[in-house]
C-alpha cells in the first residue's frame, strides 16, 4: 500500500494531475472575485448581495484563493512530487550523459536510428579526418574509423534537473520574500521629510514577520508630473537622503535603499490654504494633501469650518459649469464649498494666490505644491527568485535547443574507394533529424555524394 502510494506520489501522472488542478484553481481565481483585486466597498456590496455564496467561498478561503489552504496543499504536493520525480531521474540522467561503452554498433544494423546514409569519401579524406571534423562540430567521439560513436550535447539532460531546481529556487525566494515583506503607502509633499516612522504610513502597513521595516531618511525636494495629451508620461521625484545625497525616482524607476523600493504612483495637489480675518491676520492655515485627482472630492477643516474641495487641473467653464480640459496642471483651480455645522456657507473658485470670502473671513491659496504617494515594499530573497528565473530560462533553452544528437559510423574500403557509413538519431525528433544529419554530412564532406540511404 505504502509503496503504491509512493509510486503514485512520484509519478508523472500525478505531476500532470497536480498541474491541471493548479490550473483549475487559477481559473477559479479569475472567476471568483478576489479580495486583493476589489475595493472594500465592492467586496461588501458583493457580500450584501450574495451572503450565502460569499460565506461558502470564505469558508473555503476562495476569496483569497491563491493563499487558500487548498492551494497551499496543492503547491506542497507539487513540490513533493517534483522532488521525488527529480530524485528518481538522477540515475537516468547519469545514464544518459555517459558516453556509450564498448565497441560502437554497426550503423547499418543499429536499431533506433532513423537516419542512415553511405557517402563516398572525397580524395584526401579518411576516417581520422571525419572524426576530427565531427569533434570540431561539438561531438564527443569515441572509437576510430573502424567503428565510432559521436555524441553532441550529451549533458543536455542535466538541464532537465536545472529547470526543475529553478522551481525550488523561486519557492525559496518566494518564502523568504513572504516572511520579510513590508508593504505600506505614504503620501509626502514637496519639502516634507520622512525618517521611516511606521505611524506615518497611510492606514496600517503590513509589517514583516521577520526583520525590521524600512530604515530610511529622506526629504522630498521636488515633484514634477508630466502629462502628454492626457497620458501620464512621467512623475519625477527628487529626494535628498540623510547624508545629503540626491536621488531621483520616477514611475518604473523606484528609489531603492535598505532592500526597500519606494515606488511613486499617485500624484495630487498639496495646497497651502490660509484663513485670514478682515484685518488680514492669519487665523489658521496648513498644507493639505488632497485626494482630488480624477474629479474626486476631498474635505479639510480650518478655523472651525469645513471645506469641500474639487480640483480642476486645467480649468474652464463649460456651459457655465466648471470643467477641466485635461488632467494636465495648466490652469489649476479649486472649487470650494465652505460649510459650518453641516450647512453650506458659500461656494466659489480659488486659484493660486487668490482667495474666497466667507462670513468674516477669507480662504487664501498661498502655494500649490504637489504630494506624491509612495508604495513602499521591503523584502529579501529577490535575488534568489531572479536566479530561479534566470536558471529556468537558461535550462529550458539548453534542454530544448541543445538536445542530444548521436551518430554511429564506420569507414570501410570497397572496390578501392573509401565509404563512410553512418546512422544518426536525436532526442525528440525523427523526420527532422534526417534533414539535419543529411545537411550536416553534406556540409562536412562538402559533397552530395551520398550513395544510398
Amino acid at each position: 500500500m505504502y509503496s503504491k502510494f509512493m509510486k503514485f506520489l512520484s509519478s508523472l501522472r500525478f505531476t500532470l494531475l497536480l498541474i491541471s488542478l493548479l490550473g483549475v484553481m487559477f481559473l477559479a481565481g479569475l472567476w471568483i472575485p478576489q479580495r486583493s483585486l476589489l475595493t472594500q466597498a465592492m467586496y461588501n456590496q458583493w457580500k450584501h448581495n450574495s451572503p450565502s455564496l460569499v460565506a461558502f467561498f470564505e469558508a473555503l478561503g476562495f476569496t483569497s484563493i491563491y493563499a487558500s489552504p487548498l492551494m497551499l496543499i496543492l503547491w506542497c504536493l507539487f513540490f513533493i512530487n517534483l522532488a521525488l520525480v527529480m530524485w528518481q531521474r538522477i540515475p537516468l540522467i547519469k545514464k544518459r550523459i555517459a558516453l556509450p561503452e564498448g565497441q560502437p554498433g554497426n550503423p547499418e544494423s543499429a536499431p533506433g536510428y532513423p537516419f542512415h546514409a553511405t557517402y563516398h569519401l572525397p580524395a584526401g579524406m579518411d576516417g581520422t579526418t571525419i572524426l576530427s571534423l565531427l569533434r570540431k562540430r561539438g561531438f564527443a567521439v569515441i572509437g576510430d574509423s573502424n567503428g565510432f560513436c559521436g555524441v553532441k550535447n550529451r549533458f543536455s539532460p542535466i538541464a532537465f534537473g536545472l529547470f526543475h531546481i529553478s522551481f525550488f529556487l523561486i519557492l525559496l525566494g518566494g518564502m523568504i520574500s513572504v516572511y520579510t515583506r513590508f508593504t505600506g503607502l505614504i503620501d509626502l509633499a514637496e519639502g516634507e521629510s520622512f525618517q521611516g516612522e511606521t505611524v506615518r504610513y497611510n492606514a496600517s502597513p503590513q509589517m514583516p514577520k521577520i526583520g525590521p521595516p524600512p530604515r530610511v531618511s529622506f526629504t522630498v525636494k521636488s515633484i514634477l508630473p508630466t502629462l502628454t495629451s492626457g497620458v501620464p508620461t512621467g512623475l519625477k521625484v527628487r529626494m535628498v537622503d540623510g547624508r545629503g545625497v540626491e536621488h531621483e525616482a520616477d514611475v518604473n524607476r523606484p528609489y531603492k535603499t535598505d532592500n526597500s523600493s519606494f515606488i511613486v504612483s499617485t500624484v495630487g495637489p498639496a495646497p497651502l490654504f490660509v484663513v485670514q480675518d478682515r484685518s488680514g491676520k492669519e487665523i489658521d492655515g496648513a498644507y493639505m494633501k488632497l485626494n482630488v485627482m480624477g474629479g474626486k472630492e476631498d474635505v479639510f477643516s480650518l478655523a472651525g469650518y469645513q471645506f469641500r474641495a474639487t480640483f480642476y487641473p486645467d480649468y474652464y467653464l463649460k456651459n457655465g459649469a466648471p470643467a477641466s480640459h485635461s488632467p494636465e496642471f495648466k490652469n489649476p483651480v479649486f472649487m470650494i464649498t465652505v460649510e459650518r455645522q453641516g450647512k453650506a456657507v458659500t461656494t466659489g473658485t480659488v486659484t493660486k494666490g487668490g482667495s474666497l470670502g466667507f462670513d468674516d473671513y477669507q480662504l487664501m491659496l498661498k502655494e500649490l505644491p504637489y504630494w506624491v504617494r509612495f508604495s513602499v515594499f521591503k523584502e529579501r530573497g529577490l535575488f534568489i527568485i531572479y536566479a530561479g528565473f534566470a536558471l529556468a530560462s537558461l535550462a529550458v533553452v539548453w534542454r530544448f535547443l541543445f538536445y542530444r544528437r548521436e551518430v554511429v559510423g564506420i569507414v570501410r574500403e570497397e572496390e578501392g574507394e573509401s565509404l563512410l557509413v553512418v546512422a544518426g538519431r536525436s532526442e525528440f525528433y525523427k523526420s527532422l533529424t534526417e534533414d539535419e544529419f543529411t545537411a550536416m554530412f553534406n556540409k562536412l564532406l562538402d559533397t552530395d555524394g551520398r550513395t544510398d540511404t
Binding site: L12, T15, L16, I19, S20, L22, G23, F26, L27, G29, L30, Q34, S36, L37, L38, Y66, T183, T226, T228, S229, V231, P232, T233, G234, L235, D250, V251, N252, R253, P254, S261, I263, S375, V376, F377, L382, I385, Y386, F389, A390, A392, S393, V396, V397, F400, L401, F428, Y429, K430, S431, L432
Partner: protein, 278 residues
C-alpha cells in the same frame, strides 16, 4: 491612427483577407497552383503592414507596444513574419499560412475596432524590460500560432488521406510525420520564449508595481497558458502523445494565449496590466 498608417493598415488587412480567400479557393476547388501566388500576396501584405507600423512609430515616437490595436498590429506582424520565414526556409511549410493568416485577419480586425488612437508612451511603459517582455511575448505567440497552423494542416491532411479522396492542395503540405514533429518544435520554441517572457515580466513588475507576481488576471492567464504548453510537452515526451492528439492539443492550447493577450482585458477591467494605456 495617422492617415498614412490607416491606408497601409487597411491595405494589409485587405491583402491578408484576399490571401485567406485564396487558400480557401485552393482547397475547395482543389487547385494547388494558386497557393504559391498567395505567398507572394502575403509578402506584399507584410511589406505594407511594416510600413503601417513605421508610420505609427513616426507619428507617436515609439513602437506600438500597448493596447489591443497595437497588440494586434505587432502580434500580426510577428505571426506573418514567422510564417514567411519558415515558408522561405522550407517551401512545403508555406501552407502554414492557411491557418495563421486568417487568425491575423481576425486579430487585426478586432484590434482596429478597439482603440487605434495615437498615444504617447505612458510612464508605466518606459522601461527596458518592456522590450524584452513584449518581444518574447510576441515570439511565443508567433510560435504557438505556427504550432496551431501545423496542427490544422495535420488534421486536414489526415482527414483527406483517411477519406481516400485525393486533394492535390494537401499534397503540398509536409508529410504527416513531419507536421507532427513541427507541431512539437514550434510548441517548444514558444515555451522557451514564453518562459523568458514571464521571467522578464516578473522582474519588470517588481519595479512598476512593487511585486514580481500579483495574481493579476493577465498574469494568471499567462501562467495557465504556460502550464498548458508545459503539459503539452510532458504529454508528448513522457506519454508519447503524437499525431491527432498533439494537433488538437496545439489548437486548443492557443485559446489560452489569445485569452491572455486579448480576452482578459476585454472582459475584466480590474487588471493592472498595462496592455491598455490608462
Amino acid at each position: 491612427m495617422s492617415n498614412f498608417e490607416m491606408i497601409f493598415f487597411w491595405i494589409s488587412l485587405v491583402i491578408y483577407s484576399l490571401a485567406t480567400g485564396g487558400y480557401i479557393y485552393s482547397f475547395v476547388f482543389k487547385n494547388p497552383r494558386f497557393m504559391p501566388k498567395m505567398t507572394i500576396l502575403i509578402l506584399i501584405g507584410f511589406l505594407t503592414h511594416t510600413i503601417a507600423i513605421c508610420a505609427r512609430y513616426q507619428a507617436q515616437g515609439h513602437l506600438p507596444w500597448s493596447g489591443d490595436y497595437e497588440s494586434a498590429m505587432m502580434g500580426g506582424w510577428f505571426i506573418i513574419a514567422g510564417t514567411l520565414i519558415v515558408g522561405w526556409r522550407n517551401k512545403a511549410l508555406q501552407a502554414l499560412a492557411t491557418a495563421s493568416v486568417p487568425l491575423v485577419v481576425i486579430m487585426m480586425g478586432f484590434g482596429v475596432m478597439r482603440n487605434p488612437v495615437l498615444t504617447p508612451m505612458a510612464a508605466s511603459l518606459k522601461n527596458y524590460w518592456l522590450y524584452i517582455h513584449v518581444y518574447f511575448a510576441w515570439l511565443a505567440f508567433g510560435a504557438y500560432t505556427l504550432a496551431m497552423a501545423a496542427g490544422v494542416l495535420y488534421l486536414m491532411k489526415r482527414k483527406s488521406s483517411k477519406s481516400g479522396v485525393v486533394n492535390p492542395s494537401y499534397e503540398r503540405f509536409p508529410s504527416l510525420d513531419r507536421l507532427d514533429e513541427l507541431i512539437f518544435r514550434y510548441v517548444v520554441f514558444g515555451f522557451i520564449t514564453d518562459t523568458i517572457m514571464i521571467a522578464a515580466g516578473a522582474i519588470w513588475a517588481k519595479d512598476l508595481w512593487g511585486s514580481y507576481w500579483s495574481w493579476d488576471p493577465v498574469e494568471t492567464w499567462s501562467l495557465i497558458s504556460w502550464l498548458s504548453y508545459g503539459i503539452c510537452i510532458h504529454l508528448r515526451i513522457t506519454f508519447g502523445w503524437r499525431n491527432e492528439r498533439l494537433a488538437w492539443l496545439a489548437i486548443a492550447a492557443l485559446s489560452t494565449v489569445i485569452i491572455s493577450f486579448f480576452g482578459v482585458t476585454f472582459v475584466v477591467d480590474s487588471s493592472i496590466h498595462t496592455f491598455q494605456v490608462r
